[in-house]
Amino acid sequence: MSASFTSLIYTYIGFPLLAIVVLNLIGKKHMEKFCAPIGCAVGVVQAVTSVITMLLLLQYNKAAVNFSQFWDMSVSTEAAYFSVDAISAIVLFCIGMVTAASFLTAAGMREEKMFNYTNVMLILVLGMSGIALVTDLFSLYVFLEITGIASFVLIALHRDIIGLEGSFKYLVMSAVASAFILAGLSFIYMETGSLRYDAVAEMLAGNTAAEPMLIWLAFLFLIAGFSIKSGIVPFHGWLPDAYQSAPAPVSVVLGGIVTKMAGVYAIIRIMSDFLLGTYSVINLAFMLLGLLSIVMGALAAIAQGDFKRILAYSSISQIGYIVLGASTGSMIGLIGAVLHFFNHATFKTTLFVNSAAVERQTGTTEIERLGGLQKQMPVTGVSSVLAFLSTAGIPPLAGFWSKLLIIIAAWQAGGPLIAGIALVASILTAAYFLRLQRKVFFGPVEEHLSTVKEARGGIAVSAVALSAVTVVVGLLFPVLLQILQAQGLL
């Protein structure tokens, strides 16, 4: 493995840090107009680096690359280090993509607090990349908190009362969730004396727990904590408020990636790295929580009257699919979950970018006050249709394939009933999105909207680019599945 490869990986942490330092050394006065390009560049570099990482991993045929940060860490094998494997590379690509989309949206919205927004966004990127890179449960907690703190500040960025309210609710729920996660970690630590993924996996696989109660207790707390963080029903109360109250570019990144990194990614990690064996009831618990989220999220989405709120409940429902896939414990389910993670990042970001475009051009996101925007805003309308078809799992778009894998895995693991419920809930997805499309884009033009124009600049660019990703990935999916099959993974 070449040295350039290892140094390449440092860009994940180094580049955002460098951007923060440069921005603040030169100062707000001179840098304000460069904020959006710098932010986009950070996102794009992240995405490109992750693609290169992926290709190199394939070429050298390695499962993961480890690296440390500052200085010698060979004092003890207990050292916490960073590592990139296939799942992290995919997730890092999503982070880069959504970050770029969010900055484009902010530039298109002429966000007036651009400098502050950029600084905190870069911290958020660092936090999320950290979550993807760590190999130790405690470091995972540290980066979860960074992600959390950055999101609270971003939601409250404009200091309007709505944002402050959403932010405070998120903060309290997230703090409680973090406390639960830490409690779970200390119970695991009592058993293993280490929080590294491999040490914990070894203990769970070998079933060498001296006091099995501790493991049950630990997972009880971990399930509660991660469910709150990912907004799974019945722990979802804060999520729609946070999404709705955030400024538009912030809800793009919140809905696109943040809650998935903060909660679902950890669940995927636990399910992929730890073979639960004797504790497989935990799989079942996550499966049922996932199913509950799918159904309740979709039902609640049908009843909402706000564009962003519908998207928030839709996120709860789609996160349910990811959790369901990951918790089946099979390779198909896991691949389905990771791919759905990627797809959801793409299409939910598209939809939030569309809601930002609608909000900017019409000044509202209440669907009752919108209508017939398809003619005036063709780019937004078409990309929204594509994204929703993908969400609903209509072939040949990307969402269809990942949902298919998840439902097959759910059938194998939990029988036809669970798979059937997941399938039927797909139809509910179509129902709430049809309602959204009909109210916002189709039908006669509302009189007060007759002068509305298409949003230009960054918003349109990111909507088009994200739609292209949805379509292209969808068309390439059969090829991808063949590659996976050739690797013996399916």
Binding site: S76, F82, V120, S139, I146, R159, E211, L214
Partner: protein
């Protein structure tokens, strides 16, 4: 001997926490939290975690209390009529009973399941100092701490700055 002091500290921690939950005056509430922190620092010290004890005492019992005290004084001229004594007492009266119930439930569970955890010797970290562990083994966390502090600085700059408009 140490163990007796530790047990006494633990008992007082619970008492101070209950007081914190029951006090109507916010300032008393914040001070009780500081007492919990200080007692916790004693526990950490007696268990041999001297660095953690130092942090707990100076940062949690000190800095956090200052933050809460200033937040309370900044928001003390509340238009909202604070709830009366009676109402507050009714609201928190359940706590001792819940705690007694929790304690008894824990005892029953521990007795019924034969739950036990015993301290054991550890050879893995012998000969290392706290410095080695924090700076060499936990680099990811140190990096995380730096980023958290950065985030805190931006948060303070954004939230506390008196606004130019509105």
């Amino acid at each position: 001997m140490n163990e007796t002091i530790l047990l006494i500290c633990l008992a007082f921690i619970v008492i101070a926490a209950i007081a914190c939950a029951m006090f109507r005056s916010m300032l008393k509430c914040a001070v009780s939290l500081a007492v919990v922190s200080a007692l916790l620092a004693c526990v950490l010290y007696l268990m041999g975690a001297t660095w953690a004890a130092l942090f707990e005492l100076s940062v949690c019992a000190g800095l956090v209390t200052v933050v809460f005290a200033s937040a309370i004084s900044l928001t003390s001229t509340s238009r909202h009529q604070p709830e009366n004594e009676e109402e507050h007492r009714k609201r928190v009266a359940g706590l001792p009973f819940i705690l007694i119930a929790t304690g008894m439930m824990l005892m029953v569970v521990i007795a019924a399941t034969g739950f036990h955890i015993e301290p054991q010797a550890n050879a893995a970290l012998v000969g290392l100092s706290f410095k080695d562990v924090l700076w060499n083994m936990r680099q990811a966390d140190v990096l995380g701490q730096i980023i958290v502090i950065l985030a805190g600085a931006f948060a303070v700059a954004i939230l506390f700055k008196e606004s130019d408009k509105a």
